[in-house]
């Protein structure tokens, strides 16, 4: 088996073995308590909450 074919095979196996997540692969967040809590109340769904500051040592653009 050539090296390239081996790499393709490894990638294919990894793709099949990976846990199934939709294409986005990111959590979709509500950014305000007002909106998020009203959605939770109306939908009856539990809440995953993680607050975060959108700056690092006063420098924006990084959590």
């Amino acid at each position: 088996m050539t090296r390239r074919a081996a790499l393709v095979l490894v990638a294919a196996v990894a793709a099949v073995a990976a846990p199934q997540v939709d294409a986005a692969g990111k959590i979709a967040w509500y950014s305000t308590l007002k909106q998020g809590l009203s959605v939770a109340k109306a939908s009856g769904r539990p809440i995953l909450l993680l607050s975060a500051a959108p700056h690092c040592r006063g420098i924006s653009g990084m959590w």
């Binding site: 990976a18 846990p19 199934q20 997540v21 939709d22 294409a23 986005a24 692969g25 990111k26 959590i27 979709a28 967040w29 509500y30 950014s31 305000t32 308590l33 909106q35 998020g36 809590l37 959605v39 939770a40 109340k41 109306a42 939908s43 009856g44 769904r45 539990p46 809440i47 995953l48 909450l49 993680l50 607050s51 975060a52 500051a53 959108p54 700056h55 690092c56 040592r57 006063g58 420098i59 924006s60 653009g61 990084m62 959590w63």
Partner: protein, 254 residues
Amino acid sequence: MDRSFLSHAGVIAASRGFVCIRPLTYESAAEAPFLVNLFRGRSGGLENTVFALLGPDAKTRLCRTGRSPRFAFASPDSMAGAMKQILKKYPDTRPFDRPLPLLPNVRLGLNVSSCDSTPLAIVYSPDEATRTRLQQQLARLAWKPDHVGQVQYCVATKPEELKPLGGKTPRPGILVVQPGIYGDRGQLISAVDLGAQPDELANAIDFGLLASEFQAKSMRFHVSRGQQLGVNWKTAIPVTDPGGRRRGRRRPGN
């Protein structure tokens, strides 16, 4: 934020059954008491991050609250397993159209989209009824499996709010923007006007997703370069995290 937990495939898959809320710490005086009530650090004040799993009433605590998922779970796998168990107690039985998740304003929209390395879609119109209609159109798109979590959204009502985009003020409509590295400005990459049909709107968002480019950020380089450039993010309320304050005092001129 603890990306090892939040980027875990099992946690992301389970999150689809939760309402996920990421309040922006120190950006709302109204939200701070709720967060401090969930988790108070050793200093007694609000820390940079607060983590909780809660019931739909926002009062019932479903795990130990803390600064991050590590306070409650030994590993991302155990967090994903716990979330799946919780979902069994809250079956998804109520029909519900999820609204568009909105950031509070363009300034925070640009910053958060830069943090998340996603494009920002701005619903821009002075007319409330028009904004509501466009938000409903966008919401149908935003929760589709291939779009969920991929784009940030916010609203603008006045031309002044769009100054960070530079150049001529765009016409009202949906503006898809690539945020700058520091999230203090943005570049318009696609737009549709107020009368856009759903397929035109979808095309504009898809084009924004394809055309936007993001570089991996190194915290050390990002912060040191930002300090050289004079970037200085102003929070809405004082930072009370002891780590953040210590670091802030060391910074010259801060």
